[in-house]
Symmetry: D2
Subunit: 343 residues, 4 copies
Amino acid sequence: MVILMEKNTPEVNVERVIEYLDKAGYDVHRSTGVEHILLGVIGDTARLDIRTMQLMDGVADAYRITAPYKLVSREFKSDDTIFKIGDVTFGGDETVVMAGPCSIESEDQIMRIAEKVARAGARVLRGGAFKPRTSPYSFQGMGEEGLKYMRAAADKFGLLMITEVMDKDQIELVEEYTDIIQVGARNMQNFTFIRALGKARKPVFLKRGISATYKEWLMAAEYILSGGNRNVIFCERGIRTFESYTRNTMDIGAIPVIQKLSHLPVFADPSHGIGLRDKVLPMARAAVAAGAHGLMIEVHDDPDHAFSDGAQSLYPEQFEELMSQIRVIAEVIGRKVAEPVAV
Amino acid sequence: MVILMEKNTPEVNVERVIEYLDKAGYDVHRSTGVEHILLGVIGDTARLDIRTMQLMDGVADAYRITAPYKLVSREFKSDDTIFKIGDVTFGGDETVVMAGPCSIESEDQIMRIAEKVARAGARVLRGGAFKPRTSPYSFQGMGEEGLKYMRAAADKFGLLMITEVMDKDQIELVEEYTDIIQVGARNMQNFTFIRALGKARKPVFLKRGISATYKEWLMAAEYILSGGNRNVIFCERGIRTFESYTRNTMDIGAIPVIQKLSHLPVFADPSHGIGLRDKVLPMARAAVAAGAHGLMIEVHDDPDHAFSDGAQSLYPEQFEELMSQIRVIAEVIGRKVAEPVAV
Amino acid sequence: MVILMEKNTPEVNVERVIEYLDKAGYDVHRSTGVEHILLGVIGDTARLDIRTMQLMDGVADAYRITAPYKLVSREFKSDDTIFKIGDVTFGGDETVVMAGPCSIESEDQIMRIAEKVARAGARVLRGGAFKPRTSPYSFQGMGEEGLKYMRAAADKFGLLMITEVMDKDQIELVEEYTDIIQVGARNMQNFTFIRALGKARKPVFLKRGISATYKEWLMAAEYILSGGNRNVIFCERGIRTFESYTRNTMDIGAIPVIQKLSHLPVFADPSHGIGLRDKVLPMARAAVAAGAHGLMIEVHDDPDHAFSDGAQSLYPEQFEELMSQIRVIAEVIGRKVAEPVAV
Amino acid sequence: MVILMEKNTPEVNVERVIEYLDKAGYDVHRSTGVEHILLGVIGDTARLDIRTMQLMDGVADAYRITAPYKLVSREFKSDDTIFKIGDVTFGGDETVVMAGPCSIESEDQIMRIAEKVARAGARVLRGGAFKPRTSPYSFQGMGEEGLKYMRAAADKFGLLMITEVMDKDQIELVEEYTDIIQVGARNMQNFTFIRALGKARKPVFLKRGISATYKEWLMAAEYILSGGNRNVIFCERGIRTFESYTRNTMDIGAIPVIQKLSHLPVFADPSHGIGLRDKVLPMARAAVAAGAHGLMIEVHDDPDHAFSDGAQSLYPEQFEELMSQIRVIAEVIGRKVAEPVAV
């Protein structure tokens, strides 16, 4: 932290600030300029409340000069974090596509959709068994029964599986089924929960909170890494702005920014990001063009009767079109998207 | 829900929409105007995804005409919800002040501060034993030990007690000590948790999420009321906007708006709302002038050495000044603030 | 500006930054700490693009340590700017109320309303002759004819007059009639216009842009002061946030913040700030309680038939009630509101 | 407009609303449902203040069912607006790239940069002669002299020219030199100015205001079209959100949304959208992938010494790389980018 003293402030104020910092266990480096005195604070300033310093007599302003996150930063680890689950590589030169319905609705439904997305080149099956809903009166998910159907569907079609966990008590149960644990936007700062994920055995897919700053998002990942779980994937899924025509405003710029600040993979979820089926394709192309390491896409073969989020789910044919478009775009930046397969 | 069909759309599109709604169990009331056909949808449309309707062929737009919340609304209960805990009335003509430190730091600290705020006229002691922190490296609270000290302090000085619960697993423990359960802004949409609070035995103090719309905030309370717990207090504590000079932007307008939409009491927390000690007094006065049923104020007798949020905590003398100012302001709108007492 | 070099960056990078700044005419003060090298840049750094510095090799970050505004700041002038127009004092211990219709609609209308607001204690008559409208098809104002009626009404009832100017070409004309020039939110960063206001002969009432930061708002006033016109009044009128239930979100916190950063008076406009008549009273009380030097209030004696903004205009009786309430509140912080008068 | 009456409201309230609308010249279509009475209002409701209706006794809510803009909408003109200037087609299957420095700094500078961008395939030369600056102390542009140099440079290298006009008084002068008139974000709602552009002889490039909703942006274009100038190009250039790490948050989703609502071309400006050179390439690729009809890119051959916005200007080599990348991406959606040329 750097503390700027007011012009011509009496020496006693400078001394009082230094004494305060000294007692709190910091080294202080004093630098006297023509107009201003600057104090450099050395030590673990993450625990120092910047506002406390700003309110002290004679202090003009204070600035953090080191980021509060460590393990997630490029400063800590400069090369990209790349990891494999089965034969799928995350964070490397493969653009990985996760696809499936918003909610698991029945054994038959998840089987049918898994087959379709696998054929088109998806590598991971998505689907929700526990649903966070703004209304207590909405469909809340199939629970463990859904997880079983989904695991079977993923295995049958050679896919990995990702599903959302809503609470620390569910982690153990869901880990028995899933390959990747999804954390929803509303839980990004549920600290009890994300702390527990530091002890989880599976990689964590961390969606950005709807109004989370880049720093807060990185700090949420820091909770998980500091607990020992080093495999975190960020996922941009739209933020809340003044514009309410679309469900959210997808912050495509977050992709290159987070990739610069952190070594962890960055995905994008255009289905939630834009919230309307007919605009999912352009936004998915944009995310891949901006350098996303992967996509999460909602696909449903009967979206008009989906239990949730049908309006933002692609038809299987649209998903195939999307896959063929992003194959070309990914190559522009040296990435590859899996080819369609006969399953 | 009202559905507006496009001008001159073929009759088959109108019929398809009606058929879809009919199968989903809704009655439809068709109204043919000069230019447009309107369809009124009758039934529990809270479960109907408005975007699905908007995407159907021939539909120009769709509008919800009933609010998705029920129990919290003035339509359900037109008169104010007023309830007592001990001799303190919430939601009535008393402007109730809750005050105390951000964190409980020691038995001695909470005793000293409880005495000071009680003398000045506070009716409820606030203080955190479990702290939600953006950094995994920050102070995380004293836990149950802190609750014991706080209960003792509240009892000694004739105060009620409010403290934050961070997780559904803590509810039972904390209920043994506290009079009111505080839900933090980051947990407002932790649905597993707020659903569990519907079964809690104590009133819930529901802080507004940092980017929660009025509707989402009301829906969060709906979760609690629909579970059987009818005593919820809303608390405006600042929202996130483009302006980052202050910690948050306090939305004083939320006070009269929520009071119009709901029958439940509305409080304000200017300490978090503005985040800087020297501006807490003007914001607290503003909240009372706007009609808040009460305030939550952070007070510390040594804020420079507080374990958390010292920069926004008032000195006890400032708190006394605040209390004497709001006594005058509350009277302007027919409310009363408790007098200072000899404790 | 302070520039922080990356840990262990080669000396050549440090030298290149110093050389760049030297050529640009700045003095550089180098300070070598345990981990980091800091460079203090001395001179008029307002012209230095902080992003250019941040992009140079070896630079970890850069921070402005002096505000880009000067004449408007407390550092330039520490005591409050107080000025009189006629017998009305702005920026002092009088809470000045400006009131009147959104638009001047006829001679009779402005006369009737002027009488009503003058009786209740308003000191300044507001009303628009040139209207900025989002739709090209809406009523655009009466023009100079309206100004004549308004001047006559103000004079007859002993009021000052304030009206909006939309363009630099209108300044000369409007100055012949008005006492104070109002600049609308959408024009706050119309630089050609605000530069011209630096040469205007009348004080300027500068509304905050709908998404203007505090810094941008202060910089807009700096344009006017740097042109020679030292009498600027800030007016908070609501900002744009994610919440769209109300027209705007009124940022009451701006009042104490701007009063701390600047010596100029700060007013509030709750009519635009909240946009709904039934919530104008609570917001007006809140603004006075927070320390506003004055209010601007829309009043209409037949709001249902107003040509513009009827929905946010008070009935004359509501305005009287407002005045009597804020008389009590203003006293709490040592201010006075004019008494009702027989006119 | 559709007006929803409250459940069980007395008939007198319904009649009063109908009478009010009847006097204001609207036809009303009454529809009585099981629970609610709905009133459909027929006529030009753009002039009807929705809030006035919402405040009438017995009214539960009111909804606009027709957009307030007309000429810009797909309803008015369903096929894309495509127009040519010289041999460049806007709004068709060419992805048009505009490039050049932020400010014209000298004859030599604009010549050098024009040559470089022309070689790489740009079709339009951008550059500012009049600069809108937040600080009155910053460089304000070369004025007419700059326009002359720029016209010469554009002609020499076979480029069209675009430059910003800041004020209605400059239109005539600038039209003598430029092919396209650029309107800056801060002027998007300068109504006097945009009304005057309706009479301009050149196409208008309308940047989105930093906090403008889609509707406000479309309405601003409506001002221009309603004045007779039918050639307007929208340009997304980033909006203001809570995240301040980047200069703005680029709303890539605006591209497909505006293209659906309007028949006019939509461009994107990633230089302002993200504000940092190293992220301009990913954002430019994203905009093209999302379907933008063109790009505006800042290029400078010595950005460290640019008079303005050097930090977001590409080096010529980076611009060449960008052009070769978007050639591939544009083809994915059936568009073409001009080939590099020997100039």
